[in-house]
């Protein structure tokens, strides 16, 4: 096949690999938020995709329309989505933690529907382009090839976020409390811990990650209506492959997703979406709960 | 001949041995009680026999057939039914339906897609409800019954399987003295009428010594004594374990 021959060219191969990693890292940032929320709150959050879309739009508004530059746009996206999520958690989600999962799923879907329309009101239906940050418009020489500097930076941001989230969930008091909240909410409340605040904080951080992920994706993935419902399913694929609720699983899942998507499209042009879902099937055949997932309790 | 037998049964929950080397033979037609302090591993032992848990090692033999690790629904099919310590019914269905479902399953009718469910086993269901004394509550929602009645329903569901061996996990737990008497009288009568082999766990010693043919004592997952009620009562090891607890059937 033509695609396979092209891959035997080392330069082409390295480029594809870097494409895979930078794409995977961008997805990881979003999926990590989804996974964190699921891990603690046990809520599958469809509106996470809408948060991503809002992040991308916010980045456009702050950096392009208002002219503050790209990085302020990213930070603004994180803060804006954190604020939105706190509002939603306090007004809606809170009432559903004890209800069936179906109710929670559909609640988040209701938010998807409404936020989609809100985005149309705020930003219209045009496709916007967001330019790369000024210092990262060029390409860096890697010896074998030149590669866009922005994407290389993206490859680095992923692991930083991984370590950050890992540190917070594994090494801090807050992290221990979130874990305890998953195990036994009543006990924690009885010990005088403010469980609702923990829940809000988890939701806030997870959603901020979606916003930041959307902002970081904006230069390569122009904000456009409808992007929310696509990204969310792809993120689901990633977290299911990795194992629901597992941070490292999401990281590995995102990398695998990036590789399969990019190399798949070289070998079978147009087949990349199909590949991602087939990959999911293969993983689940071998490990029904994903790579890092634990079997559900009976 | 032993109808149900465990051979060196062991269950290890990541370092915590809940069942240790338990070998027990259940003779056809006998009523065998398993007693022991809380946390002795009685329920785990039941779960291992009925397939809810898979043993770490050892065997479960039912009527000469090795059923170790067999899934619950197949174990039941062989004639081994159980009730649960905590109420385990279909709370939002009627009492009638609770029993009817078990009967449909017994008759292998649960994959009949196009036959109406109502006529199925209508009479059998009524008979069974009458047997356990729930006939007047047939149309009530199961979850709204009193605790004692729910336990009776639990028994009816187990009996619906038409088992040869009945495993009852704490059949009188949480019952008032009067309910306990009624429940035991019922179990006594039905096992006699149907010639069932009974294996049960129980905390009420008057019940245990009242109806058991043999008793085994479980302590820290191991059987420390097994035999006729009088022998167990006088066993020094058992007395030591139950220090402070009366083993006399008469008084507490």
């Amino acid at each position: 096949m033509q695609g396979l021959e092209m891959l035997s060219n080392p330069t082409f191969f390295v480029i594809q690999l870097l494409n895979s990693i930078s794409m995977g890292m961008n997805y990881f940032i979003i999926a990590a938020g989804l996974s964190l929320i699921f891990g603690v709150l046990r809520v599958i959050n469809f509106s996470h995709g809408a948060f991503f879309m809002f992040g991308a739009y916010t980045c456009y508004t702050v950096s392009e329309a208002w002219g503050f530059g790209f990085w302020p746009g990213v930070i603004a996206a994180g803060i804006f989505l954190a604020a939105i999520s706190v509002f939603l958690e306090r007004t809606l989600f809170r009432f559903l933690y004890d209800k069936e999962h179906l109710m929670q799923l559909l609640l988040t879907f209701a938010i998807v529907l409404i936020m989609g329309d809100v985005a149309k009101v705020l930003w219209g239906t045009d496709q916007y382009s967001v330019s790369y940050p000024a210092a990262l418009t060029g390409a860096w020489n890697l010896g074998v090839t030149y590669y866009p500097s922005y994407r290389l930076v993206l490859c680095g941001i992923g692991p930083v976020i991984l370590l950050g989230v890992w540190y917070f969930t594994e090494r801090t008091r807050w992290g221990r409390l979130t874990k305890a909240a998953t195990q036994d909410r009543e006990m924690l409340a009885a010990l005088g811990i403010n469980v609702p605040v923990i829940y809000t904080s988890v939701f806030l951080i997870g959603s901020a990650l979606a916003g930041i992920g959307g902002a970081l994706a904006a230069p390569t993935n122009s904000p456009v209506p409808g992007m929310d419902v696509f990204i969310i399913v792809e993120c689901f694929v990633i977290v299911i492959i990795g194992g629901l609720g597992s941070l490292w699983g999401s990281f590995l899942g995102a990398l695998i997703f990036g590789v399969v998507y990019n190399f798949g499209s070289v070998i079978f042009p147009n087949g990349q979406d199909v590949f991602a879902y087939l990959l999911l099937l293969v993983v689940l055949l071998i490990r029904p709960w994903g790579l890092f997932g634990k079997p559900e309790q009976a | 001949m032993a109808i149900l037998e465990t051979q060196n049964l062991m269950k290890d929950f990541g370092g915590f041995v809940a069942t240790n080397n338990v070998s027990l033979q259940l003779i056809e037609g006998e009523r065998h009680a398993i007693i022991g302090p809380n946390g002795a591993g009685k329920t785990t032992f039941f779960n291992l026999i009925t397939g809810h848990l898979t043993p770490s090692s050892g065997k479960v033999i039912f009527e000469g057939k090795d059923i170790t690790g067999m899934v619950p629904h197949k174990v039941v099919r062989l004639g081994l039914a159980r009730s649960f310590q905590r109420i385990n019914i279909y709370p939002r269905m009627t009492v009638f339906e609770n029993v009817q479902v078990a009967l449909i399953a017994r008759d292998h009718n649960h994959f009949k897609l196009f036959s109406l469910g109502e006529p199925h086993n209508r009479q059998d269901t009524k008979d069974l409800l009458e047997l356990v004394g729930l006939d007047t509550e047939a149309l009530e929602i199961a979850g709204e019954l009193s605790y004692g009645k729910q336990k009776q329903l639990e028994l009816a569901i187990a009996l619906a399987e038409n088992p040869r061996v009945l495993l009852l996990d704490e059949p009188t737990a949480g019952m008032s003295p009067q309910e306990t008497d009624e429940a035991i009288e019922l179990v006594d009568r039905i096992t006699k009428e149907r010639g069932l082999t009974l294996l049960f766990t129980e905390h009420d010693m008057s019940v245990v010594f009242g109806i058991s043919d043999r008793i085994s004592v479980l302590h820290h997952g191991e059987i420390i004594a097994s035999g006729l009620p009088d022998d167990v009562r006088n066993d020094p090891e058992v007395r030591r374990v139950y220090l402070g607890e009366s083993l006399d059937g008469e008084g507490h």
């Binding site: 559909l106 529907l113 419902v229 399913v233 299911i240 879902y277 999911l280 | 269905m93 196009f114």
Partner: protein, 307 residues
């Protein structure tokens, strides 16, 4: 029973009015009602939330459309084959999904439906991709509104009749028990995974019937029909009507579709209205419209008793 008969008579009589628009709306509602009812076999009766039911709708629809148009197969063969395809696909997917439960089950059904969506989207030569498969070669005897109306009515009525029978059969009874308490059902000798698998296949098959009718009605199929938001739509219909009653989802389907038509007259923001409806159901009407009706009825009868 009486209500069903009245609805059926009204449906049979509708074409006499000659109102073509009303007929079109009714045909679509009938199809959506069948779709929601098929989904409810899985959700309401077996307690497994599928987020990918649109896949079987799309498989049924596309297969029917492609066989009729590309391969010139007569409808009497094309439609059964289309339904068979949906059934086989659901058998395969159900095997995977029933290994899991609850959220994991829901996520996996979603992923499978997106696989179907991706295939329909990318296999342009066969499906015409995102341009949609339009202009179906309609069989001569359905080439008018009135015959199509009666054909849909007949197939939908027969399908709903079968579903009713299944849900009230011995199987249906035990299925509810599996929903209520899976462990207990296992301990009375029920192979709960096979029960769930069967419910899944029934849902998929009847979803396929709905889809194959839809292809005829719209004279085409679109990739959006397989997208996950379509599955979510069906879930909302089910929930709105009430998933613990047999006909609830059909009532939900009719209500939602009529509301959509009404809303679209005044505003382009139907999604917001739908989201709002969903929030109201979730927060205030967990048992749907049928549940609400029952509650009101029992309150009235209690008051009546007191007087």
């Amino acid at each position: 029973m009486l209500a069903c008969l009245i609805v059926l008579i009204a449906l049979v009589a509708l074409p006499m009015s000659g109102d073509l628009h009303a007929m079109d709306v009714t045909v679509e509602i009938m199809i959506l009602a069948l779709f929601a009812l098929s989904l409810n076999t899985l959700i309401g009766y077996s307690g497994n939330v599928s987020f990918g039911h649109a896949a079987y709708f799309a498989i049924g629809g596309y297969t029917n459309a492609i066989l009729l148009t590309t391969y010139h197969v007569p409808l009497l063969i094309a439609m059964p084959v289309a339904i068979l395809f949906a059934m086989v696909a659901s058998m395969f997917v159900a095997w995977f999904c029933t290994r899991l439960t609850d959220i994991y089950f829901a996520m996996l059904t979603l992923a499978f439906s997106m696989l179907v969506w991706a295939i329909l989207f990318k296999w342009r030569e066969m499906t015409n991709g995102d341009d949609g498969f339009v202009g179906i070669a309609m069989p001569a005897f359905l080439d008018d509104r009135v015959p199509l109306y009666y054909f849909t009515l007949a197939v939908v009525t027969a399908s709903i009749g079968l579903l009713w029978l299944i849900c009230h059969s011995a199987f249906g009874k035990v299925l509810v028990a599996v929903r209520e308490n899976r462990t207990r059902a296992g301990f009375v000798g029920v192979d709960t995974r096979r029960m769930r698998w069967t419910a899944f296949v029934i849902a998929g098959t009847f979803g396929g019937i709905a889809g194959s009718l839809y292809a005829l009605f719209k004279s085409g199929m679109y990739v959006e029909n397989a997208f996950w938001t379509q599955s979510a739509q069906a879930l909302i219909m089910t929930l709105l009507g009430g998933m613990y009653s047999f006909f609830g989802p059909a009532i939900g389907a009719a209500t939602l579709h009529l509301l959509e038509i009404l809303t679209n007259r005044y505003t382009e923001y139907w999604p917001t209205v739908l989201g709002g409806i969903l929030l109201v159901i979730l927060l205030f009407l967990p048992d749907g419209m049928v549940g609400l009706a029952q509650k009101i009825q029992s309150r009235f009868s209690r008051n009546g008793g007191a007087n």
